[in-house]
């Protein structure tokens, strides 16, 4: 393996634009030289930013380094570039599993299975994820180095009372509204610290119905999310129930893909909270 690394390094030095960095970084990763693998992958990614395999490889290295947030972003990017990328789908499934979102983990594995029905690792991982064996499932997916695979904790449930308690929950950037735009829970402050809950709620009244009508008119099926990228922050809207709308606001530093995950978890918490209020 050392010779392979030397040979690949030499090839890359001679042709820095070649895709040999993919094999080299993967070899380094397998050998546990994560910092070197990181450097090679990042350098390759800078030269080939639209290559899904490069994002997938970089994500694997980040996952090995337990930097799961950035790994998520990279796998998310890989899937955006190549929606059926098996490595990225499996990687995302692994991360969803880690945060306890079994439905999403299964959905990503099923998507991968659809495009690679003969891939035994996916079949095995699906069975294990459904059976709730996290470490084994991670092994089935071939993600993470063995010694670092701690069994992921079950999803830390959102503290609904804190999230939807009113202004004290404002730091969460969550707002739960009914169909008419009346505030059911949560609160928002703008960057200047002013309470903007009612103003934002007023503008969002009817958005859920409009989104439903638009989706119906265009044959988009059921709308699952409305994501907006702003100059200074990102917003994600989702509908936890037919009669409610949940707004999640985050800084621009939070990628849209990650915000969608945060919104899904918040919607889950909102549904539970609404059930308890009924």
């Amino acid at each position: 393996m050392a010779e392979d690394i030397k040979s690949l390094s030499s090839q890359l030095a001679q042709d820095p634009l070649s895709l040999v960095f993919l094999r080299l970084a993967e070899l380094l990763r397998q050998k546990g030289q994560l910092d070197a693998a990181h450097r090679v992958a990042l350098s390759g990614l800078e030269r080939h930013p639209h290559l899904a395999d490069a994002h997938d490889l970089y994500a694997r290295i980040l996952a090995d380094k337990n930097d799961f947030e950035r790994a998520f972003d990279e796998w998310d990017m890989a899937v955006r570039i190549a929606p059926h990328h098996l490595g990225a789908l499996k990687g995302l499934a692994f991360l969803y599993f880690k945060v306890g979102d079994i439905d999403q983990a299964v959905a990503h594995l099923e998507a991968a299975h659809k495009h690679a029905p003969d891939d035994a690792s996916i079949t095995q991982a699906l069975a294990l994820v459904r059976g709730g064996q996290p470490a084994a499932a991670a092994g089935g997916l071939g993600i993470g180095r063995e010694e670092k695979r701690a069994a992921p904790a079950a999803a830390a449930p959102m503290e609904e009372a804190r999230v939807f308690a009113g202004l004290e929950g404002a730091q969460e950037g969550l707002l739960l509204l009914d169909a008419a735009g009346l505030v059911l829970g949560g609160a928002l402050r703008n960057p200047a610290g002013q309470d903007v809950t009612e103003a934002v709620a007023a503008y969002l009244a009817g958005v859920s119905q409009e989104a439903t009508r638009t989706a119906k008119l265009l044959g988009l099926g059921t709308w699952t999310g409305l994501a907006t990228e702003g100059g200074m922050g990102h917003v994600h809207l989702t509908s936890p129930t037919a009669e409610s709308l949940l707004l999640v606001v985050r800084d621009r530093a939070v990628p849209m893909g990650r915000l969608a995950i945060v919104a899904q978890r918040a919607a889950h918490a909102a549904r539970r909270w609404l059930e308890r209020q009924a």
Binding site: M77, R80, I81, A82, P83, H84, L188, N190, P191, A192, V196, A199, V200, Y203, L204, G206, V207, E210, A211, R213, T214, A215, L217, L218, G219, L220, G221, T222, W223, T224, G225, L226, A227, T228, E229, G230, G231, M232, G233, H234, V235, L247, V249, M256
Partner: protein, 117 residues
Amino acid sequence: MTAAAFERALDMVTRVRGVRGAMLVSAADGLVVAEHLMEGIKGPAVAALAGSLSNRLGRAMEAAGVGASVFWHLQGTQGALLVVPAASGILVVAVTEAEVNIGLVRLELLRAAGAVG
């Protein structure tokens, strides 16, 4: 800007695999400025709803202090609606299938919005 220039801007978007159609909409009144849609999509109605949604979202985002909307994306189980507001007040809109490269469509929409001005 000429009708041909509008067509060119839309053509950039519709070339992306999985895009069912694209249109330019006046954000102020929700009217169609130019369209390049697959049959079966009701342009005027889509324009009106996209314009209305865009205005609501824009105001909500301004109130929340997150700045003007650069891009928004309505995701459905069977497809998506993607919108980029151009500086001139025109919305560049794409209707896509579910399995589309959203990042690529976003890039083309931003490019088209730049061309529209």
